[in-house]
Symmetry: C2
Subunit: 429 residues, 2 copies
């Protein structure tokens, strides 16, 4: 029988989980400091919701797990956290707006594992529903950067663009509107696969060579694209919005380089306004991305409600933090292992173990009737920092040996002293 988890999915053993918990705790804390409130939605959504026109789009539906449930209803595993949010807002008309929510949950996409893509992965999203102000866009970007600060990342680059600018660009290039999303999806790959391959892809999609040339003419003009796109309303509005976001980020004192990048496109269908990506130090690449989607909720509710948000790429972030040793690795969270020298002594030590635990000290003990040496080996292999050694004598004198497993020294102390010492030590971790 195949015992490994399914392709593209992973088991997270304690060593890995301890890192993930630490990262998520810090992110969650920053989300809350910025006033975002928690939300969770079910893993399964109706196919009707997932495939609604204007939601994720056909590219992503091709990768979406879907099936008939036991009641013959077509359902699917969510591919993102934005479409479920839109459904929640639509189905709760009395929600206080603006609704600032965070959501940290898995999403599923049946992607190509040979390209290192995961099929179950964690997303951490923040969104602001019910504000059309560019201040909301600035707020989600600032919050994302604050998360990365708190994790120890440095040198941020925020790349900004606007679907309105891209729309102007596509019109300028003489491309028909129904092809525009296809073109954006190709453009989105520019940084990854380079201009030549994007040009080829666009040709294959039937875009005339002339139009492709025009697109790249504009994108490559790093300065003053407004000279080419003179007096285009969409372009001007898009630029105005993006510049407004930049000015808010400056007022907020966000420490980041900010760049308008006309090639930034983002893959999902639902964006309507500013789009953004955050990257950190060189070699790390994009670690967060998002944008404004003012029409998505209307698809579900019939009522126009503006919204904007950003998603943190948790798997990438953790991978980088491990590679760069930005986070301390531990195999266990246990503070102290109680080693009794015999089964009889262990029985009498259960009360002491109980006392340690009642004091909030993470305490483990032997469950395999091993001798003292083997118990110490076990504690050592797990990286438990301290071992409390108890024998007949210790039970009588009520003085115990506390062994520091790193410094390899022992100190005798009473239980109360030991508890104080261990508590202080545990807080330092």
């Amino acid at each position: 029988m195949e015992l490994k988890p399914l392709k593209g999915t992973r088991d997270f053993l304690p060593e890995e989980m301890i890192i993930r918990q630490e990262v998520l705790d810090r992110i969650k804390n920053v989300f809350e400091i910025f006033g975002f409130q928690p939300l969770e939605t079910p893993a399964l959504e109706s196919w009707e919701v997932l495939s609604a026109k204007g939601a994720g789009g056909e590219e992503i539906l091709k990768e979406t797990y879907n099936f008939e449930d036991l009641g013959k209803k077509r359902v699917g595993l969510r591919y993102d956290l934005t479409v479920p949010l839109a459904r929640v807002v639509a189905s709760n008309p009395n929600l206080n707006l603006p609704f600032k929510r965070y959501q940290i949950q898995n999403v599923w996409r049946y992607g190509d594992v040979s390209k290192g893509r995961l099929r179950e992965f964690l997303q951490a999203d923040i969104d602001i529903v019910g504000s059309e102000s560019m201040l909301a866009d600035a707020e989600v970007i600032a919050c994302a950067i604050s998360c990365f600060n708190s994790l120890g990342f440095k040198d941020f680059l925020v790349r900004l663009n606007n679907r309105k600018i891209l729309s102007a660009l596509i019109k300028f290039a003489g491309i028909e509107e129904k092809k525009s999303l296809e073109v954006l999806r190709s453009l989105d790959k520019l940084e990854k696969i380079g201009e030549e391959k994007v040009r080829k892809e666009l040709e294959e999609k039937g875009i005339p060579k002339e139009s492709i040339n025009k697109i790249f003419e504009l994108i490559n003009v790093r300065k003053n694209p407004e000279k080419i796109l003179e007096k285009n309303e969409d372009f001007e509005e898009g630029m105005k919005e993006v510049n407004e976001i930049i000015s808010y980020l400056e007022l907020m004192g966000v420490k980041a380089k900010i760049k308008i990048d006309l090639s930034l496109a983002r893959g999902l269908d639902y964006y309507t306004g500013p789009i953004f990506e955050v990257s950190a130090e060189k070699g790390i690449g994009s670690i967060a991305g998002g944008g404004r989607y003012d029409n998505l909720i209307e698809i579900f509710s019939g009522r126009k409600i503006p919204a904007t948000g950003i998603s943190l790429g948790i798997e990438r972030i953790i991978e980088v933090m491990k590679e760069r040793k930005m986070i301390k690795e531990r195999k266990t969270k246990v503070d102290v292992f109680v080693a009794a020298i015999s089964k009889e002594v262990l029985k009498k030590s259960l009360e002491i173990i109980q006392k340690l635990r009642e004091s909030g000290i993470k305490t483990d003990f032997d469950l395999r009737e091993r001798n003292l040496t083997r118990q110490l080996e076990y504690a050592n292999s797990l990286g438990v920092p301290f071992v409390l050694i108890i024998g007949e004598k210790e039970l009588k004198t009520k003085k115990f040996k506390l062994r520091d497993m790193v410094k390899k020294v022992e100190k005798e102390m009473e239980l109360g002293e030991g508890i104080k010492f261990l508590k202080k030590n545990s807080e330092k971790l």
Copy 2:
């Protein structure tokens, strides 16, 4: 379009999520104090693993979501956290044993929603793998009770039985072994549906009336069943184990009534030894259950590895805590809402907001250009405890009005003072 979540699944809006997070944080903390380490596994498992003989069993497979994925592989959503744990242990032969892990994740079962059953629900499991000592069983029970203590539950009853005792009982009743799991599944419903209905179910399963009478003869003899089952080896071993668990629980100082209950059966196939359920105050019913499963891991690894564990019924626990008002309800975690009297003032206040946030204070502000009254209404409807009011004058004098939204009083203070005050207040929550 249907906007509610799929039948049997739920959206958790902030008010609900804040309660869930609080409950789970406390439980997680107790798990860690008892030395359990975190583990997570994927939602999807291969059908081969889920349906392995000796795992969950046919009853549960009937309710298991399963389908062919896009690569034509049959997969399913996990129905519990124990089978995935067994797979993980089998696929990691170098794991340090005993392996004490906790796992808090959703499971999915396509159950009857008209009976109030959920189709996506959270389980919080602790298991000890690699110890055959009854001390391990006592440890998981003690840890569960400690969780409930920390949540404010009282008056615990631990009901204990042993699959070995049940096996003796079934033999005594003259029932063929291949029918034994079916009989146990019916017996398991005794407390819920009563003796009469269980008798009827057993008759329908083709169990002779005489055998049924014998079963109930034994179960109803609350005292001295050993007189009837004299010199039965399985029975004696089962009783010995159960009594050993009881003596350990007493040594640990667990404050709970403990009762041997021969009708306790537990629904899952994989149990082999002691089985247990914990209930709290009258009217609450079972809130945790589990048992020993010494053969489950062998199914996957070929190597016999004993294991025992307990699962906390999180949904039931939260439901009861809400009903009994055991937990404070809050709509938001925000500590302070910054209300600026105009857009211009808000722009100049962004720096102040940043300072509050850098001090760890959960801070929100207006994103809809509302007037002061409307901002106060919004903060009030969300239950934000304090509002910091900023106008042109306040920006100049650097003295701000901090409004206590509960007491409805305002106090003027400098930002530094305000930060100190809010921090102190936030820690109290």
